[in-house]
């Protein structure tokens, strides 16, 4: 079973971002970048399948600028077998990424595609589902537990007020939640070895995909900040404020 893991290079979760001065984009110049944390969980899951002989090969793919090679090499250090970069400097939106991933999956003969349930930059949470639809495959979103068997998987996903277990026949697309596992730290020897390993580079045109964005960004603005900072001395002051000032309790 060939497993394809889709990885996005994003602004590190600890960095706070701002709009550019003209409000036309997010200012990502000179900020620290990292692998999308949700995708890291997807990768960890796939590598575990390989270690348990449930997968024969784990291929990682990233779509974006050439700097995504760093992310892919991190994935190789994690234990991925091969890496593919679909290089594009333009703004890649979810539908375009889903089309690129479909083309790569068909080229690789993948039976399972795993990715994070959302990326922490655009927070769209839709690429995996779009990919599943383009391929006509089953999907599970925000998987919290996965039991992979011979002809499919049992996937637990959180739903409002509970959980449901889905039976997914192969092939399928899985998007994962952060709770699924705790990703490892790659060892230093593996990190060093990964630096020398090849990354295959493709262009969207090689895959016959038009990646022109469908959404135009009108503007990027900072969200209004909440003005807080009020303090109360004790429980009785808190309750009287909630009753008489805020009027949120009787």
């Amino acid at each position: 079973m060939n497993v394809l893991v889709a990885l996005k290079r994003v602004v590190d979760a600890e960095v706070s971002v701002r709009p550019t001065a003209d409000g036309s984009a997010v200012d990502t110049a000179n900020v620290r970048m990292a692998m999308n944390p949700f995708d890291e969980v997807a990768l960890e899951e796939a590598v575990r399948w390989k270690e348990h002989a449930l997968a024969t090969e784990v291929v990682v793919v990233s779509c974006g600028p050439s700097a995504c090679q760093d992310t892919l090499r991190t994935a190789l250090a994690f234990g991925a077998d091969r890496a593919v970069l679909v290089q594009a400097d333009a703004d890649l939106q979810p539908l375009a990424v889903a089309k690129l991933l479909k083309a790569v999956a068909e080229r690789e003969g993948s039976g399972i595609i795993v990715c994070g349930k959302q990326a922490i930059d655009d927070d769209s949470g839709q690429t995996g589902q779009m990919l599943a639809a383009l391929l006509g495959w089953s999907q599970a979103v925000a998987a919290a537990k996965v039991e992979l068997g011979g002809d499919g998987a049992l996937v637990t996903q959180e739903i409002d007020g509970g959980a449901e277990v889905l039976q997914l026949p192969l092939p399928f697309v899985l998007t994962v939640d952060l709770h699924l596992n705790h990703p490892r730290y790659p060892s230093l020897p593996n990190v060093l070895k990964a630096k020398k390993r090849p990354v295959e580079v493709l262009l969207p045109a090689d895959l016959g995909v038009d990646v022109a964005p469908r959404l135009a960004t009108v503007r990027i603005a900072e969200a209004p900040r909440r003005r807080g900072g009020g303090r109360v001395a004790d429980v009785s002051e808190l309750l009287s404020k909630l009753r008489d000032e805020a009027r949120v309790i009787p």
Binding site: V17, Q139, D160, R231
Partner: protein, 312 residues
């Protein structure tokens, strides 16, 4: 051309989030139709017909729609969109809509616009990015606009008062893809977290699942729901479905009580639109205090019992 809303329902009633989606759909200025899918959903279709502002209800029934799997609902929704010639497709940004709408958008070869919090024009939408730190205004160039809307951003239309006709539409053929094996809902008599008027949320400082019972008691006393930070969920104190934040639920209750929560940006993304925020934390420097209307510095194991005693 009309707007089609995908209903989330339990075979009896529409979720309040669906009525928020109808409110958002009405802002496009065209007729609003609602699609209700299921195996035995006539009562829910009747409820949809009673929602003021809805012009027509489409009801698609088939045995294999009973579990509302994403693949089968998407196939039926796609068929309805193709048959009806809709310009807009709307669903609440919640379980069903998040799973289904991207599939339909991809099949229509259009980009989905997720988690919309404001509609500036029929083709122009505002959505939060970077855990809500930034707001992106985007304009869709696609012929069909497929959007999920954040329920807390749109005041739901009333549940009753309308009299729309109900039309049966064919369900698409069974895709034979994913199948629900079990579905457990931990229904309680407490309000649903997403729509509760009061939310009491706990963080890692609670220290154990046992200690979360303190918050249960406070929530019960205030008629609210219990939520949690990701740290508390990861520590195993409560289930994932109580998580509030960027990757969990987005809530905006009248009163949000953050207990032992430091206030990471990922958590704030899920609660900063609450009307009144109370923070109880031992660390006076915790970032949650910058956000709170009423901050109380103290040990939660003293403050919460004192609150309970004072409320009784």
């Amino acid at each position: 051309m009309a707007t089609l809303v995908l209903a989330e329902h339990d075979n009896r009633a529409l979720t309040p989030a669906t009525r928020s989606a109808v409110a958002a759909a009405m802002s496009f200025g065209a007729d609003v139709h609602v699609l209700v899918t299921g195996a035995d959903c006539a009562t829910a279709a009747g409820a949809a017909a009673g929602v003021p502002g809805v012009v027509k209800v489409l009801q698609a029934q088939a045995s294999y729609l009973a579990d509302q799997t994403a693949e089968n609902v998407a196939a039926t929704l796609l068929a309805a969109v193709r048959a009806g010639g809709y310009s807009h497709l709307v669903a609440p940004a919640a379980g069903l809509g998040r799973a289904v709408l991207p599939r339909v958008a991809a099949a229509l070869d259009v980009e989905q616009v997720a988690d919309v919090v404001a509609i500036e024009a029929p083709d122009t939408f505002v959505r939060p990015i970077y855990a809500g730190a930034l707001l992106a205004t985007v304009q869709s160039r696609d012929p069909v606009k497929v959007v999920t809307v954040r329920p807390i951003a749109f005041e739901p239309v009333p549940a009753a008062g309308g009299t729309a006709p109900i039309e049966s539409v064919p369900a698409a053929a069974d895709t034979g893809l994913s199948r629900v094996v079990t579905r457990e809902s931990s229904r309680s008599d407490r309000p649903d977290l997403a729509s509760a008027r009061v939310v009491v949320a706990g963080g890692r400082a609670l220290g154990s699942a046992e200690n979360f019972k303190l918050l249960d008691a406070l929530a019960a006393r205030l008629g609210g729901a219990v939520g949690a930070s990701r740290a508390a969920v990861d520590a195993g104190y409560v289930g994932n479905n109580l998580q509030i934040g960027q990757s969990g639920k987005i809530v905006s209750p009248d009163l949000y009580v953050a207990v032992g929560i430091s206030g990471a940006v990922q958590h704030i993304a899920g609660m900063k639109d609450s009307k009144v925020i109370v923070a109880i934390n031992r660390d006076p420097e915790a970032p949650i205090f910058q956000l709170a209307d009423y901050g109380l510095v103290g040990d939660l194991f003293e403050v919460v019992p004192a609150l309970l005693a004072a409320l009784d």
